[in-house]
């Protein structure tokens, strides 16, 4: 302060400046003191508040501890229970997860069964396809055979129709050209076939009506009147009998023997039954008569008498034929 004051030369203001300096000094000091005091009071208050809050915390701590210790057991039990529940839920979820995965994989979306099924389906398909293929081939073969047979039949019919083209001894036929080494197959076919005769095939519808008479014991009455065949029909060549005769023979009434006529239970039949066993043991005919077998042809050949035998074996006239016919010359029946 005095340093300041010393700088001013005017001495009349000497006390003024000094007092002013002292006053400012005093104010400065006053402000500083107030600041210090203020700060100190604030510290005190803060310390007090801190203390207060510490005390309240303490009190609350003790109070809460007391309350908790009172309900401690319940709380622990509850927490324990919740923990157990959570654990069990976890485990249950795990089990359900595993079970559901297993079930779906095994029963609903069974992959391996599906694979096996698809393999089985393809195997079955192969089987079905092969079988169907065989069936189709079989059908084709049948059709081919039918076609072939039809063609054969056609050819044979043609050969029969063209029988007149056969080559004779003098004149070679069309198919037997002299410049060929061997005759044409058509020629051979014609040689082997019967000539075609266009005879009218008479259909006897009368035969159908005869079938309506299954149990007739005598020939139908209209047989003798004969309206059967058309009147302008050409009589066929050959030794044919009269149709009426044939019918009569066909419908000859049954004339059973005495033995057949008797019933099974008549006394005569019964007495015969006794001797049947003996008849079986001692048959009269050892060679059983066989009606339609070739036994007669083969084993009972007719042995001709010496009188009828010719120079080169048996003469056919008198046994095989009785007329002047030469069947070798007939062409229609070859």
């Amino acid at each position: 302060v005095f340093a300041l004051v010393l700088h001013y030369r005017a001495e009349k203001y000497y006390y003024f400046y000094i007092f002013r300096a002292i006053d400012e000094d005093r104010k400065l000091k006053y402000n500083a003191i107030v600041k210090i005091q203020r700060w100190f009071r604030a510290c005190r208050v803060r310390a007090y508040l801190r203390h207060l809050s510490k005390m309240t915390i303490l009190i609350q701590k003790w109070w809460r501890g007391y309350l908790r210790r009172k309900h401690f057991r319940e709380i622990v039990e509850r927490a324990y229970f919740i923990k157990k529940l959570k654990f069990y839920n976890e485990m249950a979820v795990r089990i359900q997860k595993i079970w559901r995965g297993y079930y779906v994989r095994k029963y609903i979306h069974n992959f391996y069964a599906l694979k096996k099924y698809l393999e089985a389906v393809s195997v079955n398909n192969e089987l079905v396809r092969s079988e169907l293929q065989e069936y189709a081939e079989m059908r084709e073969d049948e059709e081919k055979i039918k076609d072939l047979e039809k063609k054969e039949k056609e050819k044979k019919y043609q050969a029969r129709k063209m029988h007149y083209l056969l080559s004779t001894k003098k004149i070679p036929g069309i198919y037997n050209s002299p410049f060929r080494k061997a005759p044409d197959p058509m020629e051979l076919l014609i040689r082997n076939s019967k000539p075609l005769t266009h005879r009218k095939q008479v259909k006897s519808s009368f035969a159908d009506e005869l079938y309506d008479w299954p149990t007739c014991k005598k020939p139908p009455a209209f047989v003798s009147s004969l309206p059967l065949l058309p009147p302008d029909r050409q009589k066929p060549q050959g030794p044919f009998r009269h149709p009426a005769e044939v019918l009569q023979q066909r419908y000859k009434p049954l004339e059973p023997t005495l033995r057949v006529r008797e019933s099974m239970n008549s006394p005569a039949a019964k007495t015969r039954a006794g001797t049947r066993g003996e008849e079986w043991k001692n048959p009269i005919h050892d060679n059983e008569f066989l009606q339609f077998s070739s036994y007669h042809k083969n084993y009972e050949k007719y042995e001709p008498s010496l009188r009828r035998s010719g120079k080169y074996g048996q003469e056919a006239y008198g046994t095989k034929h009785f007329r002047e016919v030469y069947p070798e010359k007939w062409i229609a029946d070859k």
């Binding site: 089987l127 079905v128 396809r129």
Partner: protein
Amino acid sequence: NSGVVCLLRPLLLDIVPSIRQTTALALGRLADYDVELAEAVVKAGILPQLICALPEENRYYKKAAAFVLRAIAKHSPQLAQAVVHCGALEMLVICLEDFDPGVKEGATWAFGYIARHNPELSQAVVDAGAVPLLVLCIQEPEIALKRIAASTLSDISKHSPELAQTVVDAGAIGHLAHMILNPDAKLKRQVLSALSQIAKHSVDLAELVVEAEIFPVVLTCLKDSDEYVKKNGATLIREIAKHTPELSQLVVNSGGVAAVIDCIGSCRGTVRLPGIMTLGYVAAHSENLSMAVIVSKGIQPLSICLIEEHEDHIKAAAAWALGQIGRHTTEHARHVAVANVLPTLLDIYVDTRSSEDLKMKASRFLKALKNILQKCTYLPALEPLLHEAPPNIMKHIIGQFSKVLPHDSKARRLFVTTGGLKKVQEIKAEPGSLLQEYINTINNCYPEEIVR
């Protein structure tokens, strides 16, 4: 037309029977030739005279009368109704009870033509008590009679389930199933068509037909040399397979799918159509059945059909069938895509879209494509489609790419090298649409420099 019908009328009542017969034959031939003549015959009121004394007449007259009735009834429902009005049905039933097979054939044929037109006429035929007699006719030894009886039963049962039930109640199914084994081709045609008309109405009827043990005999019909036998056999299998998954399962287990596939491969034209639809129905029921169809090598013939056939409805059916096969899971879609079907489908779709009148067919191709694409994760098959597809299909394709690319690094590399990423950038999409999201997802899989 020159009053011939009026001239013939009095001859019908002549004393000499052969004149009556010849008149009836003449009337029949006239009516057979033309609709107007048939109408003239009906208008002249000949029918009541024709059939008034029918029971006492001989078999030739009955045959001729049946011929007249059938010739009139075949032209239109109104003429058939007129025939029914005259009380012809009772007379025809009397003819059916006759011994001569020719008379029975004529009567059966007349019934067939009457019953063909609409359900009411069929009901009238059934009410006249014809069905048991028809079933008896089927058992006769003459093949022609069997054929006609089978075709008549087929015509009766095609209209409604009740009529089919009536036919079944008369015990027709057993005899029809037995006749499948007959070697005659035309008979087999009619028998198979009759069985398929019965089976088509409901599950119970189809099960009844199946219980008659037609499998696996029906499969031999699919190998027959006659085209229409194959077609009708495939129709029968289709009608059975379309009802429930169990019936389709039965068809698959008996190897029917393989036989149908072979049949498709060997035929050409409309004959293939029922076979294609059978495969579609079988595959539609469940994914296991669809897998069974794939395993039986079904996709190849279907794709050949798509390419080869000229008719639109056959192509549409083949596309539908492929859609049904491929729509179940990614495995199925992969099998379909591997067979190189998708480009063909796309081409056909673009073609049909360009011609306006085929809109419905185009929508079918579109649906089939969509179904397959939604499950297809086989990227090499999707690549070529990327370059040619119209916008509505493009979003499905891009969607599939956006599902697969984030996870598969090799696929990402391939996508870039084949120029797919460039194509994706060229697509313009409205922001906020689904397409834009897919494009963003794809772009996010790649680092920035490559995208730009």
